[in-house]
């Protein structure tokens, strides 16, 4: 079995004009950092991988996850977790309900509840299950978003400027937590950022995207 996330000859076009090209394999537990000026299409690359590319773009090439071609699978069947720069916790659900939303179905009510509590305890948020997400601090929200994603058992992890909204010391803290967890679970990570510190902390390969179409 070929573990990892492989982007094979990816090319994304807008109105027939190539926007970005990537051809790279990310092994399990490794981080690929994609850098580049804003507007170059970094988020578009992630949208193609999650299967949510807007119809104004066309994507070509294959995405393989753990040896399986997921290019044409619907977004909910891809098993790819994503973190954005905003926590995007569902504001109408409690912290616990946010986590349970992403957990695979099955298990009794009590067992699921215990799983939620455990997961919160792992990131130092014991007893937060019934809280309103809006009452959490920025760092707490970021941790809940991470835990929510991990509880859905993803096979790869995408980070879309995930740390850029956090204060400097908090950023390092959350970043270390994410990379450490990804390493423990042997998840391939694709990080999009414009912050060189993020790239250095990740320690993996770095691709510098440039605009293919001028102007």
């Amino acid at each position: 079995m070929n573990k990892g996330l492989i982007l094979r000859n990816l090319c994304i076009l807008r109105a027939g004009i190539p926007l970005i090209e990537v051809d790279h394999a990310i092994a399990a537990g490794e981080v690929l950092t994609v850098m580049g000026p804003s507007g170059v299409g970094k988020s578009t690359l992630l949208a193609y991988i999650t299967g949510t590319l807007a119809p104004t773009f066309t994507g070509m090439g294959q995405v393989l996850l753990d040896g399986v071609d997921i290019t044409t699978k619907p977004p909910h069947a891809r098993r790819i977790g994503i973190l954005f720069q905003d926590d995007l916790l569902f504001p109408h659900m409690s912290v616990g309900a946010n986590l349970a939303f992403g957990m695979p179905p099955g298990g009794g009510k009590a067992a699921r509840r215990a799983q939620v509590e455990d997961a919160l305890g792992d990131v130092g948020l014991t007893g937060f299950a019934d809280r309103d997400p809006a009452t959490l601090s920025g760092g707490q929200k970021a941790r809940v978003a991470l835990v929510r994603m991990l509880l859905s058992n993803p096979c790869a992890l995408l980070l879309d400027e995930a740390f850029s909204r956090l204060d400097a010391d908090l950023r390092a803290q959350v970043r270390d937590l994410v990379f450490q967890t990804a390493k423990e679970r042997a998840l391939p990570v694709l990080m999009v950022t414009h912050d060189i510190e993020d790239a250095q902390a990740a320690g993996g390969a770095v691709i510098e995207l440039e605009s293919l179409s001028k102007g």
Binding site: A47, T50, G51, T52, A54, P55, T56, P74, P75, H76, A77, R78, R79, I80, G81, I82, F84, D86, L88, L89, F90, P91, H92, F101, G102, P104, D132, P133, A134, T135, R148, M149, S152, P154
Partner: protein, 558 residues
């Protein structure tokens, strides 16, 4: 299934309009099998042009429509130009929703109670200023020029156009343009008119057209405030259509086609006016004038806007006072004593009618909501938004005058023997409820951050789970508001209920308007008030329910 919803929505919205126009065209050319008449013939038009009141009725329709629209638009534009971003403006803004939800008929009755010779204004001024110790014999309400009717239309169209303008400003980023203009030495009003207004107007153009078509063909306000000999063309059409002599329907149908032509002509005229104003405006911009009359225009427009808002509010107060009034002698400002007798007499009937009103409104709104949510979700999943042409289609049922297609729809149903009361009325209401629910929900639905959907599907949620468990609950507030808008639209429908219901479906609006000719102010007070409550209560619920339901969810109240 989802793929067919946009087509189904179009059918529900435009089907009755097209069928109605067809059903109008046939009898207009002498074809009415139900009366044993077969066309084609031009007799209906001959009889229409033979009617002595025609030119006056046509003039009334066109003039009231165009003047009411121009005045409303001017008030809205100058208030927004002079006051947007100030505290007075946000006060007006907060009054919008309740003002908007007051049904036209209730607002018209309220206004009549204010300005009539025995109304509150005359009572306040008498006898000290006027010397009147009895109501003067003046034709203020139902005046032959239609001034009272124009006023009644203006007070209701100002909040509508205001809401549309505020919505349009969200996309036009007025603050920055205004800052630049002010830095270049322009006053607030002139700066806004020269830099922001052109962009805002292109956004509110369709709503303005709707106001023109609506004002020209409205029936209930014209019955209450408009002149009666002759009435406006629309009122005369309804008279002909309700005549026991079936052949009068032919004349009515011919008049309905004429009404359609008048609206098209008026829209064309307005379109030419837009070109002229644009050219003059361009010259004005090029002239570099900084505007000499900013201050008086600002004050004047705010005054007019406040008068129009307070006309509705005091009008409603007038309805309330009359409904509890015992003997009320002139020129006393308040009744000599209060009584519950009117409510005792009319209350039970009014409550029963309220039930029927809500039944019709509830079903129409639920159907509309299902169709609109389906369309918006289909739009989201395909990633293809509403096109310009789609927007026109959405506005089309509001642009075709009601008096042009509803009589034809009634005739068609009559021929089919399907004029069975409530169900056709619900579908007729749906024609008007659908566009408003769509327009009300469209923007908040589209401005939802779709990254929530990306996150949810990355967590393994299927599209319908995202729809039901994430998007709907997060958009509960705008959904309830759209429902309240839909209910208010349905509650206010007069012609659709009257004609399509064939007299067998009565809502608060048809009952209230039917009271107009009788002149029993106490009964009118009861029905007008109930009608307003029927429209206002859903808006209140739309505010309260999310607040209670999400009381522990701060993120949804920002």
């Amino acid at each position: 299934m989802l793929r067919f919803l946009p087509a189904l929505t179009l059918l529900a919205m435009l089907g009755p309009v097209v069928a109605g126009l067809w059903g109008t065209a046939l009898p207009a050319f002498g074809h009415l099998p139900a009366a044993g008449l077969a066309g084609p013939s031009l007799d209906p038009f001959r009889s229409l042009f033979g009617w002595a009141g025609l030119s006056a009725a046509v003039r009334l329709s066109v003039m009231t429509g165009l003047i009411a629209t121009s005045v409303s638009l001017a008030i809205v534009v100058f208030i927004t130009a002079g006051w947007s971003g100030t505290r007075s403006f946000s006060v007006l803004e907060r009054m919008l929703s309740p003002l908007l939800s007051v049904p036209h008929a209730a607002a018209a009755f309220g206004l009549a109670f204010l300005i009539a010779p025995s109304g509150w204004v005359a009572r306040l001024l008498s006898p000290a200023l006027t010397g009147w110790d009895r109501p003067p014999d003046l034709l203020i309400v139902q005046d032959p020029l239609g001034l009272a009717m124009i006023a009644g239309l203006v007070v209701k169209e100002v909040p509508f156009l205001m809401l549309m303008t505020i919505a349009a400003m969200g996309q036009a980023q007025p603050r920055r343009s205004l800052l630049v203009a002010q830095a270049l030495g322009y006053g607030r009003l002139t700066g806004w008119l020269k830099t922001v207004f052109p962009r805002v107007y292109t956004q509110i153009r369709l709503p303005v057209y709707v106001v023109i078509a609506y004002s020209m063909s409205i029936v209930d306000v014209a019955v209450i405030l408009g002149p009666s000999t002759p009435p406006t063309l629309s009122v005369q059409i309804v008279k002909w259509m309700s005549d026991p002599d079936l052949s009068m329907r032919l004349t009515g149908a011919a008049a309905a086609l004429l009404q359609l032509a008048l609206v098209i002509g008026a829209l064309g005229l307005w379109w030419c006016g837009e070109r002229i104003v644009a050219r003059l405006g361009h010259r004005w911009i090029m002239s570099g004038g900084r505007g000499k009359f900013d201050a008086p225009i600002r004050a004047f427009s705010l005054g007019l806007g406040s008068i129009s808002a307070f006309a509705i509010l005091f009008g409603l107060a007038g309805l309330a006072v009359w409904s509890f009034a015992a003997f009320w002698s002139f020129p006393n400002v308040l009744p000599d004593s209060f009584t519950l007798r009117t409510w005792g007499r009319h209350g039970p009937d009014a409550v029963a009618t309220l039930g029927e009103t809500f039944l019709v409104a509830g079903i129409a709104v639920l159907l509309a909501l299902a169709l609109v949510l389906g369309c918006l979700e289909a739009e989201h999943r395909s990633g293809r938004g509403l096109t310009r042409r789609g927007l026109w289609l959405l506005y089309l049922p509001l642009l075709v005058p009601q008096t042009a297609f509803l009589p034809g729809l009634q005739t068609l149903l009559l021929n089919l023997g399907a004029d069975v009361g409530r169900l056709p009325v619900i579908f007729a209401h749906l024609v008007f409820v659908l566009p408003y629910v769509f327009l009300s929900l469209g923007d908040p639905w589209r401005s939802w951050d779709t990254r929530y959907a990306t996150v949810a599907s990355a967590l393994g949620a299927r599209p319908w789970k995202v729809f039901w468990q994430v998007r709907l609950p997060m958009l509960l507030r705008p959904i309830l508001t759209a429902m309240a808008v839909g209910i208010a639209v349905s509650v206010g429908q007069y012609l659709a209920t009257l004609l399509i219901g064939g007299g067998r479906v009565s809502t608060l609006t048809t009952e209230a308007v039917a009271l107009a000719s009788g002149g029993d102010r106490r009964a009118i007070g009861v029905y007008g008030l109930m009608q307003t409550l029927a429209a206002l209560v859903p808006f209140t619920l739309a505010l309260i329910i999310p607040t209670i339901l999400w009381r522990n969810r701060r993120g949804l109240h920002e």
